[in-house]
Symmetry: C2
Subunit: 215 residues, 2 copies
């Protein structure tokens, strides 16, 4: 025993609470971080980045500004965490549909159909957070971050369709880029229409109609 075994090395303490069972030091947080994040998600979803103030957020989350900043960093970091949470929860239907269906065409058909239901669900704000929340955004970084997600999604659609064309699951005259762009256009339009009050049945009809474009 040299005395250097039991205690951690001076310059590199173990990461707090990461992989260890030791409870964190100091006064514990008195609110549910996940529940607060969900409230922030609802508010950003409904009002968008620009129209949601920190005062609105703290009121909805049931906390005071210093708690918000201690737990989430700042408004922008909170929003980015909200975006990540949205993609893993309310927005996950799209990835699931594309992954689980046997072809790109079937995946996209299901994605559009489920988008109609999701975008008009009365249990949460209408439309898609990734589509509506950063329209007319004063922060170029925030706007660009969410736009990059949309752009990547269009590219992913195109790749999926291209693979199916290459595999012979779609006719050779099918244009992957055009079909991806068309799908994205309909999807983003559906979000807007839902925000304007279009109903689930109407948008499901749009979804099925959109699939008639495929060769």
């Amino acid at each position: 025993m040299t005395g250097m075994d039991a205690t951690p090395a001076a310059g590199t303490p173990p990461l707090p609470g990461r992989g260890t069972r030791t409870p964190p030091r100091g006064r514990p947080r008195s609110f549910d971080r996940e529940a607060a994040l969900e409230q922030a998600l609802r508010l950003f979803w409904e009002r968008g980045w620009e129209a949601t103030s920190v005062a609105d957020l703290t009121a909805a989350m049931g906390i005071r500004p210093p708690s918000l900043y201690a737990a989430f960093g700042d408004k922008r970091a909170l929003f980015e965490e909200v975006v990540a949470r949205y993609r893993e929860s309310h927005g996950a239907y799209a990835t699931r549909a594309l992954a689980e269906e046997p072809t790109a065409r079937a995946g996209i058909a299901r994605m559009l159909r489920e988008a109609a239901a999701e975008a008009t669900d009365p249990d949460h704000p209408w439309g898609c957070l990734l589509i509506s929340s950063t329209v007319n955004c004063t922060s170029p970084e925030v706007e660009q971050a969410v736009r990059a997600i949309r752009t990547a999604n269009v590219r992913a659609l195109e790749s999926l369709i291209r693979a199916d064309v290459a595999a012979g699951h779609e006719p050779a005259e099918a244009d992957p880029a055009a079909l991806a762009q068309f799908t994205a256009t309909v999807l983003q339009g559906m979000s807007q229409r839902a925000r304007d009050g279009a109903g689930r049945a109407e948008l499901e009809r749009v979804a099925t109609d959109a699939m008639r474009v495929w060769p």
Copy 2:
């Protein structure tokens, strides 16, 4: 001559400058109201209602706040005048297309085609002001006013199509409400895609693809 002929009646002076050739009293306005309105239009188009401040507007219009308020009322009245101007200028292509083409189908095809060009024109902000400028709006009145225009436009599309079905220009199985909703969805999606950087050719392809949905 009773003395009451040449001079106007006391309680009801002639409306200033309306139909009369008499120049307006007082110091004349030192800026071009139309040019200033056009600058405001560009700014609202690019940034939307929420993200455009009065300071931004006065800077772009080359005037000071009191001049803006004297000439236009307030920010909301200015925006509503901008919306009216937009509908009569950059947005007029849609009404023209629907009015000038012989059928609803031809009118809608032309409207979508021209929308692709208009929404991606490098000479002005991308997308459609009526679609993008009031997304995530803190003022319910402003948001509702522009939404009402969109809703009326969808209804007008539906009426046009219904008339063509009744006249036998479209097959009986054509669903006017569904086709109108689909057209609106594509149009609003095209605006969004243009704001995300989609090009004219891509959106023109979307426009022609969309017409394949018709029976």
